[in-house]
Every structure is written in structure tokens, then in C-alpha cells.
């Protein structure tokens, strides 16, 4: 693996697989040119992907650290880098640097607990890494609940994996929901925050939240309403980033840099930060 001792200089990665998840989300599998995983990471960490001449952007690493062969990134088409990536074919090289940020505390705080994962839309991407990590070290965690919602059935990320792997796991409970009624869907219909309240979980567990800001806001409130404490809830933030190492000065919320001190925050930590994310 090419190792250049400078955090801003990336290594080359090759896209070896492109999976179309939803109409606007694709999952890219990336390895180094000699077929290895670009670098080790922990669940919840991010990497800077770039297309020279187009730009560089921060993405959550979707694959679990337990996967030692490759990295996966689920990417929604929304800006110039992502648009370019969506048009990329297998074999295309990009550049990768990382890992950045603090991971979820999977080995200490989460260990031995029941887990509740709540995601909306592409918000499942950063959680997938944790979920699969927890599934891999199944004995370390109790019951796993996953609440996942999106606009429609077609917008559910990793649907195949959810149905074929997660749902078939013992003691893993998946609760899917979509925003509006749809033909061919016999599951739950409604927004995630309401669904969480309907499901009414017992509060003796750790919760991990990720999704659009508005969903996070209401789900957080919902969880508090059913008795969760903010110290039990973790989420991951995303802001504009350029360097990834806490120097370029744009992803800060108060005195904290999302790239360095985050992206994973416990919700009570967020309360201490100014409302600017």
C-alpha cells in the first residue's frame, strides 16, 4: 500500500464494484490498485474521496471494519463529486484518504447493551458499518433493533442485505417504514419519528441516530418522550469539509471540529454546542 506521510495526499483507489441501491444512491466498492483495503478504520469513521479535477468530499465508510478485503461507500447523488462518481464505471480510479473522525464507541460504551439503530434515507450509510460490526461480534451485544425509513420502497438503501441477512439474524429486529402508501408495500407507512414512538422501545439500551436534520430533531424528541436520556443517544454529523484534519476551519460547531472531534457525537454533547449544524 502506497504510504505517503502527509495527510492531505491521498492514495489511489480502484472502484471494483458499483451497486445501484436506489434511484439516487449507489454503493461503490473501493480497493487499492493491488487489491487491498485502502486502510483500516473503525465503525462510524469517514474517508475523503476525490476525483482529481472535480473535487474532494467526505463520505462515511459504509462497510464494516470487520471486512478486511475492501471498503464500501454508499453515495447519494447531490453535488458535483457525487454526480461524477455516479457516472463512474468499474475499474475507474479515484483517490482516498483517511480514516477521519472518531468512531462510535462500539467496544466500550455499546458493549453489552441492547442496540437501537434509527436511520432515515441515506442516513443508513454510516450506520450500516456499525450494524454489521455489531452483527459480526454478536455475543458482545444484546437485542438489536433497526428502524429504517425512507421516502418509498425504492429508496430503501441496502434492501437486499436487510431482507436477506439482517432480518434473518437471530435477535435482530428490523422495522421498515416508508413515507407514503405504495403499491407492493405491506409494511409500515409513516415517518420515522412517529414510528419510533409507536414501537415504544424499552429504554435500557443505546440508540444510534442518523438521517436528515429534521428527522434527527423529531426522533430525538420522540426518544426523550419515551424515556431515553440524551447520554444514551449517539448521532453523526456532517458539514462542509476540506482538510479532514481540523485545520481548514470550516466544519466547526462552536469549538469542535466535526472532522476531528466528531462526526460521532453523543446527544448531550451536542447540547453544549451552539445551534449551528
Amino acid at each position: 500500500m502506497a504510504q505517503i506521510n502527509e495527510t492531505l495526499i491521498p492514495v489511489v483507489g480502484v472502484i471494483t464494484d458499483v451497486r445501484i441501491d436506489t434511484p439516487d444512491i449507489k454503493t461503490f466498492r473501493v480497493v487499492t490498485p493491488d487489491g487491498k483495503k485502502p486502510f483500516d478504520h473503525r465503525p462510524g469513521q469517514c474517508a475523503m474521496l476525490s476525483v482529481p479535477g472535480v473535487g474532494e468530499a467526505m463520505f462515511s465508510i459504509t462497510s464494516s471494519p470487520t471486512n478486511t478485503e475492501f471498503m464500501e461507500f454508499s453515495i447519494k447523488k447531490c453535488g458535483c463529486v457525487t454526480e461524477w462518481l455516479h457516472s463512474a464505471e468499474v475499474g475507474q480510479m479515484i483517490t482516498v484518504r483517511g480514516p477521519y473522525g472518531n468512531p462510535f464507541p462500539v467496544d466500550d460504551v455499546f458493549a453489552g447493551h441492547d442496540m437501537l439503530f434509527i436511520a432515515g434515507g441515506v442516513g443508513l450509510a454510516p450506520l450500516r458499518s456499525v450494524i454489521n460490526y455489531c452483527r459480526h461480534y454478536r455475543d458482545k451485544y444484546g437485542r438489536i433493533d433497526i428502524v429504517y425509513g425512507s421516502r418509498s420502497k425504492d429508496d430503501l438503501l441496502d434492501y437486499k442485505e436487510i431482507i436477506e441477512e439482517w432480518q434473518t439474524d437471530e435477535n435482530v429486529h428490523v422495522h421498515l417504514t416508508i413515507d407514503r402508501e405504495q403499491e407492493g408495500w405491506d409494511g409500515h407507512v409513516g415517518f420515522v419519528p412517529n414510528y419510533v414512538k409507536e414501537l415504544g422501545f424499552d429504554t435500557n439500551k443505546m440508540a444510534v441516530l442518523c438521517g436528515p436534520p429534521i428527522m434527527i430533531k423529531f426522533t430525538l424528541q420522540g426518544l426523550m418522550d419515551i424515556g431515553f436520556d440524551k447520554t444514551q443517544i449517539y448521532t453523526t454529523l456532517e458539514l462542509r469539509m476540506k482538510c479532514g484534519v481540523g485545520k481548514c476551519g470550516r466544519c466547526n460547531v462552536g469549538a469542535k471540529y466535526v472532522c476531528k472531534d466528531g462526526p460521532v457525537f453523543r446527544c448531550d454533547e451536542l447540547d453544549e454546542l451552539p445551534d449551528e449544524y
Partner: protein, 344 residues
Amino acid sequence: MRKISLDKLDLLFAKIAENQSLYIPSDSVEGAKFTKWTNGTALTNELNTVRGIKDFFFPQSEDLMKFKMQGKNIEVIDIRDEHEDFVIFGARACDVRAMTVLDNVFLHAEPVDTYYKNRREHGIIMSLACTRPVETCFCGTFGIDAANPEGDIVCHKTDDALYMNAVSEKGTALLDSLSDITEDADTKAVDEQKALIKERMTKLPLAELTTDAFGGGKTEKFFDSPEWAKLSESCLGCGTCTFVCPTCQCYDIRDFKTNDGVVRYRCWDSCMYSQFTRMAHGNNRNSQKERFRQRFMHKLVYYPENNNGMFSCVGCGRCLAKCPIRMNIVKVMKALEGTDNGSN
């Protein structure tokens, strides 16, 4: 301590410039500016340069790497090389402290920025005490002693001689190499000058300004202050304050398509710019008020919080002199201070 008489200043510069590039503040159309010394370059009489010495270590624009692309393949080319040795003469106390502020970001906070480190290692700073501070100076507010600047070699210029005192290893080596043109000196003249400077500092109009109200942990206190709206209402959102500031270090990383590849470079950026935090799906600092607040909160609260109480303003007064609409950190501090007292 060594000294050299002022009429031999050119000899000193020539001697230093023998082995490395030497930059001294010299007059130009834009105002005083650090200029590469060649025979005849004259030291300015201005108090300070339009821009600080940040440019030497963290240039406005620098190439980071190159990419060669062929079909689907990409090659990353590391273009870093050893920087040349250089000496900066005549940096003021505020600007030298600004380097400590930048060091905290680029060197002391992991990971080290090797581009910055490279330049920093090859640069020697000869600081020069200020004898005639102007009304916009307020370095004392941040605990900077204009009479005793930091740096590798500390210089004091009196009416007839330049006194030099090496305070670092690099500085000692340089001063030793100048021993045949300099002579030993006692500290009398320098002590006298220091006393004069100290006295003058107390007479400055901003001498009373303090940082007591600010520092780490004050986010909650100031973040929602109604003053921000008033202070920022006339802000144009330009980058003048940021770019003349010796401690502002925000940068952008961008790609430039050359005729046969891509150069990735970094350049100064300003948190005052509307697109600074713009993402594909929105902007978390949408109004000028928020961007304005970010800049001053960073200098007065966030930076001290992360750096043991050191402020990232050095009181050089450049933003006071250069802001198109003459809004500046002093006005901000005074306005916020007012609210601080009010809430007690």
C-alpha cells in the same frame, strides 16, 4: 548580545543574504512589504507591513500535489521538496506571536502539516521591537510585549545601532556566523529602549482593552448575543480582514486542470465568504451574521478553548486599518463586553 552600527546595516544584510534568502520590510506602492533583500533594498520606516509574515510559512496559494490521469487510471505525484533556507528580518512582536498561533494549528495539533513544517524549519525570524506603536496597536491586550518580541533573534534598533540577541538554537547559529561584523554589547541601550516602549504602550488609546470577558467556555454566553446582528449589519462579506490577518488560517483545497493533468493546491479561504460552508444540500451559516460571528467567536472563544487560553488575535491592528467599512475586532470586543457586564 551583539550589536552593529546602523551605518553598517547593509553589510549585515549582505552577510546574511550570502547563505540564504533574506527578506526585510521595505517600502512599495502597496505600503511596506517584506521584500527579498538585494543590494540597495532599504528598510522601511513604517511601523509594520501591510501583510504579516504568515505568507512565508502559509502562502496564499501553494501546490500540494499533482495528478496524472490516463483513461481510468490516476497517478498521484508528491511534489514536495525541501524549502530553501530563509531569514525574515524585522518582524514585529505581534506577527511573531501570530506564528505561535499558527504553530498550534499546523504543528502541535495532530496531524502535523508537513508543508507548513517544511517552511517553518527552514525559516529564521529576526524580530524587531517597536518603538513607535500607533493608535491601532493593541498587542498588549493579548499579553504580547512589544519591547520583548519572540523569535529566533530579537533585535532592538536604537538611533545608532542594531542590537541582536539570539534566543533559539537557529538564532544562535545565525548570530554566531555574523560575529566578525558584529561586536559585543551590554544591555544598557536596549534596557533604556524597553523602558520607553513599555511607557509608550500604556499611552496607546487601546491600552485599556482586555480579554477578561473572553476565552474558552464562553460560547453559550456570547453565541446568541443580540450584538451580532448589529455588528454584522454593514459587513460586506469580503475577505480583507481575513487575508491581512496574521493568524487567520482557514484554507480551501482546490483542483486546477492544467493542460496535462490536475494540480491540487490549497489557498487561503475566508469564513466571511458566503460559500465557505456551502454544501450540496445547504449551508449551515447562511447569513452574514453567522459568518461574522464565526470569525470573531473563533478568535475570542473557540481558539482559546482548544489552545489553553491563547487567543488567535495578536492585536496587530491590520483589520482596524483595512476593513472597507471599518468594522473590527476591537469594536466587537467592546460591544460584547458591554453585554457581558449587563448580564452579570
